[in-house]
Amino acid sequence: MTESQRQTVFGAWIFLASEALVFAGLFLGYIVYSLWYGSAFAEATAEHQDIFLGTANTLILLTSSLTMAQAVDSKQNRVAVRNWLLVTALLGVVFLAIKAWEWHVHYAEQLMPGAAFNVSRQQPGIEMYFLLYFLLTGLHFLHLLIGVLLVSLLIWINYKELKLDWNPVEIGGLYWHFVDIVWVFLFAMFYLRGRS
């Protein structure tokens, strides 16, 4: 590795550590409320989350991490890098589409917190569950959207054969995998409770 490659990798890890703390603060909020409203959180998950779509999306994102790792691994093979990046971006878009569809269903069921929240299913804590759900999956969605744009930029750099003294695909890969890890935890928090 060259000096500037090492510097960019180190910088990327500093950035990701601070990003991780942003999510950690929100996860902590989730932990506190799930300790207070355990049964409401379990009920909200069991009744309103589609385990099939959630699992499918998890597998899609894990697959995109594999293709991203292959892109980084392809190094000098320019065409292979570009093809892996294309597959990665495509999988990211599929994830975003499924997530948007799930939100649409939840919105139609009046589960968006606020004045229109369906009070007939009131058990204290359900609205808090959906507040955290929309906030956290929303922030994750935003990160993945930026990830897809970033991968598109990488494809453009690859296509134009731009020469940089550091490896942008490697840095983009670190960000992509980080967003994948965040989803792995969101999946456990919002899809796997109250089913037994």
Binding site: A20, A24, L174, V184, L192, R193, R195, S196
Partner: protein, 85 residues
Amino acid sequence: MNRTYLKVYAALVTLTLATVALSYVPLGAAGPFAAYGIAAAKALLIGCWFMHLMHAERLVVLPLIAFILWLLFITALSLSDYLMR
């Protein structure tokens, strides 16, 4: 295709299906620990291999340690308040 990555991927898929299956098993209070334990194992697999932590320079461990340290601070301080009210 990098064979190591394929093995890591196979492990990730297996763990995902296992955690979904486990969520239907009545484990009581151990349920969340199983779910988050498997999530942490998956995160570790992604971090160590896909993010190259296994072969990274020791310097990148520094931001990671800083993250874990602050994570412990905010968790310990928050829960020591909320859990003891």
